[in-house]
Structure formats: C-alpha cells, structure tokens
Symmetry: C2
Subunit: 257 residues, 2 copies
Amino acid sequence: ERQVLCVANQKGGVGKTTTAVNLAAALALRGAEVVCIDLDPQGNASTGLGVEHPPGGPSVYDALIGGCPLQDVVVASAEIPGLACVPATLDLAGAEIELVAMPDREFRLRAAIEGFESSAHYVIIDCPPSLGLLTLNALCAAREVLIPIQCEYYALEGLGQLVSTIERVRAHLNPALDIGAIALTMFDGRTRLSEQVAQEVQSHFGPRVLSTAVPRSVRLAEAPSYGRPVLTYDPASRGSIAYVEVARELAARCARN
Amino acid sequence: ERQVLCVANQKGGVGKTTTAVNLAAALALRGAEVVCIDLDPQGNASTGLGVEHPPGGPSVYDALIGGCPLQDVVVASAEIPGLACVPATLDLAGAEIELVAMPDREFRLRAAIEGFESSAHYVIIDCPPSLGLLTLNALCAAREVLIPIQCEYYALEGLGQLVSTIERVRAHLNPALDIGAIALTMFDGRTRLSEQVAQEVQSHFGPRVLSTAVPRSVRLAEAPSYGRPVLTYDPASRGSIAYVEVARELAARCARN
Ligand SMILES: Nc1ncnc2c1ncn2[C@@H]1O[C@H](COP(=O)(O)OP(=O)(O)OP(=O)(O)O)[C@@H](O)[C@H]1O
Ligand SMILES: Nc1ncnc2c1ncn2[C@@H]1O[C@H](COP(=O)(O)OP(=O)(O)OP(=O)(O)O)[C@@H](O)[C@H]1O
Ligand SMILES: [Mg+2]
Ligand SMILES: [Mg+2]
C-alpha cells in the first residue's frame, strides 16, 4: 500500500526540505520507489533534487489548481533510480488565494494523489513554513506527519499550535492522519542547548521521536548548491549516515503500522 | 520623525526574529526609544524580549483586527529602558482569514501605527515566514524593509520573489517603501559556502548590504531560552558585538535618508 507522508512544521528553517529530500533519496537507495512532492512556492525541494522548475513550467500547481494528473508533471531524478519529484514553481505563491474559492479546497492534493498513476511505495510532501491551505492540503492527503524539530529554543514554541492543527484535521477532515514520527535536526552535541531541547522533545513525544538525531553538518547545507541530496553528494558524511538511519527507522515503523 | 522598519523574508529560519529582537535592543541601548511589533503567531519575538503572551491576552491581534490602540497593548521591556514590545499571541493565526474580508485589509497595521500615541523613534516589525496578508500589512506600514539573508544556498532562491513583492507593494500600495538594508546572518567563516553566498548577495545588492555580517554564534540561539536579547545575555559575545555594529550602521543610514 502506498505510504503518503507529509513533512510539516510552521516554524521556519527547521530542516523540512532537507529531511524530505534526503529521506526520499535514502528510501529510493534502499530499493523503494519514491515520489517527493514540493509544496513550497520557493521550490527548495525541487532544487535539492536537481529538478528544473522555471516559473510557468509543469508543476504541482497544475495538479492542485488545474486538475491535471500528477503523472503528467512528475520528473524522474537524473541520479537515483526509483526517485522522482513533482516540482513547485512560483505559480504556487498565488495558489492559496485561488484555493479559498474552491468547494473542495482542502482535498485537491488528496484527490490528485488518489488519481496518481504510479507504482510509488512512498509519496513524501515537503510543506512551506505556515499552516495555511497548502499545508492543510498536505495534511488531508497524508496518513502520517513527520515533524522535523530543530534543536533550538524558538523551535519549541510553535509545537502546541502544530499538534492542535493536526488534531483538528484528524477530527474534521482526515481521520486517518497521525503523527508518524518526530525527527530531531541540526543537533550540535557540543552545546547544552541542543541537549536540553532534545530532552524536552523526548519527554513530550516519547517513542514517536526517532532515535537518530540528525547532526548539524555543513555538507547538508552544501549539497543543495550542487542540486544533489547529501546521500550522493557526500555519502560518508555524518549528515548522510544520519538520513540513512532515519530512513531505515521510518521504513520499519511504516511496515509495522 | 518615526522610522518604521519591517524585517521580512519568506524563507524560514534566516534570522528575522533574532535580528528584530537584537536590533531593537541595540538601538535602545544607544539611547533611542524603540517599539518592536511581533507579527508572527508563534510569538518568538515576544519570547525573545521576555514578554508574556498567553493566548487571549492583549496583543497586536487586538489592534489589527479589533481596532484597539497600540498604546493599550504595548509592554515595556523589564530589562532595557526605552525598549517596548507589542506581543503576538496564537489568536494571530486566524488573522489572515479575518483580514481577507476587510476592505482596508492591507492597511490595518499602518493605520494602527499612525494612530499610535508613542514617542518611539523606531518601530521594528518582525514578520512570519510568508508573503501573506500579515507580511503585506507590515510592508504597507513600513518605510524600509530590512532583509536578513542566511548565508546558505536555499536562502538565495526566494529572493527574487521577495524583491518583486516589495516592488509590487511600492507600485500599488505604499510608494514610500524601499529596501533599506540587507543583513547577512549566520555567517560561518570556516565554510566556503558562507563566503560564496555572501559574495553572491553583495554582487546582487551592492551597497545595500550592511558591512557587518552576523556570525553564527550559539549564544544567539541560547539567549531566547532566558527571554533576553543577546545584548544583555552575553554582551561580549561575537553575536552581540555584531548586532551593536548593525544598529550603528542602520542608525547612520536612517539619519542620511
Ligand atoms: N542538519 C543540518 N546541518 C546543517 N545544515 C542544515 C541541516 N539541516 C538543514 N540545514 C540547512 O539549514 C537551512 C534550513 O533548512 P531547510 O531549508 O531544509 O529548512 P526548512 O524547514 O525546509 O525551511 P523553510 O521553513 O524555509 O521551508 C538550509 O540552508 C539547509 O541547507
Ligand atoms: N547568528 C546566529 N547564530 C546562531 N544561531 C542563530 C543566529 N541567528 C539566529 N539563530 C538561531 O537560528 C534559529 C532561526 O532564527 P530565527 O528564529 O531568528 O529566524 P526567523 O527567520 O525568525 O525564523 P521564522 O522563519 O520561523 O520566523 C533560531 O533558533 C535562532 O536562535
Ligand atoms: Mg523548506
Ligand atoms: Mg521569526
């Protein structure tokens, strides 16, 4: 059965895109078929996977607003077999206003994924840093939410709002939705701050927190400038090894559910 | 004359809040009277300035939606004389939907600041990571935009969209608006990536880029957990010294304009 996972957190810069891109790559390298859907108008996930996304070009906007089938806009990775991406373009910036007027405004992405002719095992959706209609579409289309949490203080503040939004979506729009896992990101073992935040998150979310924390590693920040996931850019780096572990743990959890 | 500055960039986690909080503190410590307005429902700037902001409590939401005067919701800093904050609460999360229905939806904040009975020399607005109606309100209320740019690759991607949004606002909604300055943040001199991004930004924006780049410094990330700007939490840290410099440079630019 196809697993639809959405990577969400309205706090900015916590590693949503880095997690979506590298998790998708790691699952594909383990032999799964994976499609990453970029739902952020900035198109960072498209860039991170090396997929061109000029404004006006084919993108998730055509599926979300224009009703065009996802198989017509998906682009295979040039590097990793089994990996593909539905890119985002700047056209998506206006989508939230256009969606407001549609009767099925929260379910457009879900309908597109249900009609998606693809043998993908995983669909991973990268969300923008907000809880607007784009993220709501992802929460309505997914069975699980993966929440990246940066190991810094400000990142703790928005968690209550995120959890209550997920609960509201489960109660009124998508009863299958659940918090699948929490990934600690940018963990810096040299600082007390990272340790404190990690402990706080673990005491709150318990077993949902993945046992692998992704360390802060500059190779992760460099890889996008080459349009490659860190898994192919520098497979021996700590960042890459961490995402291989995260993928292994997540695949095991999905198999159990 | 009162300078209204908005700190904006739709890319998440680039240091908007850290810049708004520490710039406000640094300007106040130089003797100016400063009010920081938190326009992000997560309330990070309120936390960073040590101001309580429980849901339902007095906040910028009351001024933006309820039309209540800003002087009724502003809170003086307990630590730094001359510094005050208009806090944000979770109530702000629903504001964008409520604003859509109002005829003067882009100008609510501008009207509130124009009616603000205060002797403040500077009003600094911290924006959420999006280009929705909250950020549009800030762009319509401000004379200058301060754009923090993290020295990493993904942060370059959204700049075109941000600049064209500012130009559209200047053309149709606020002719006085201009890009006041660009602040490079989280600069890590040990990595090639930081250097490359900094050069790219300088070649694009030229003299608008402040000569002080804010270094990556864990003290900046620790300070919010004590509810204090880094300027009082650890005045000798590199992060604090950098924001003192940023404030000096910005004050000189404001004086010249
Ligand atoms: N573990 C890490 N170590 C070092 N840098 C990282 C790590 N994870 C992400 N980064 C870098 O930090 C920045 C923020 O990460 P990213 O863009 O993935 O976050 P995001 O949550 O998707 O941001 P946004 O809220 O804008 O969508 C990027 O420049 C990225 O390259
Ligand atoms: N120069 C710096 N050195 C180290 N850490 C920093 C620096 N500037 C900001 N930070 C930390 O990086 C994280 C992101 O910064 P901040 O929250 O200020 O960005 P933002 O643009 O306001 O994010 P958002 O898009 O969510 O509003 C925070 O945890 C902050 O403490
Ligand atoms: Mg992202
Ligand atoms: Mg912020």
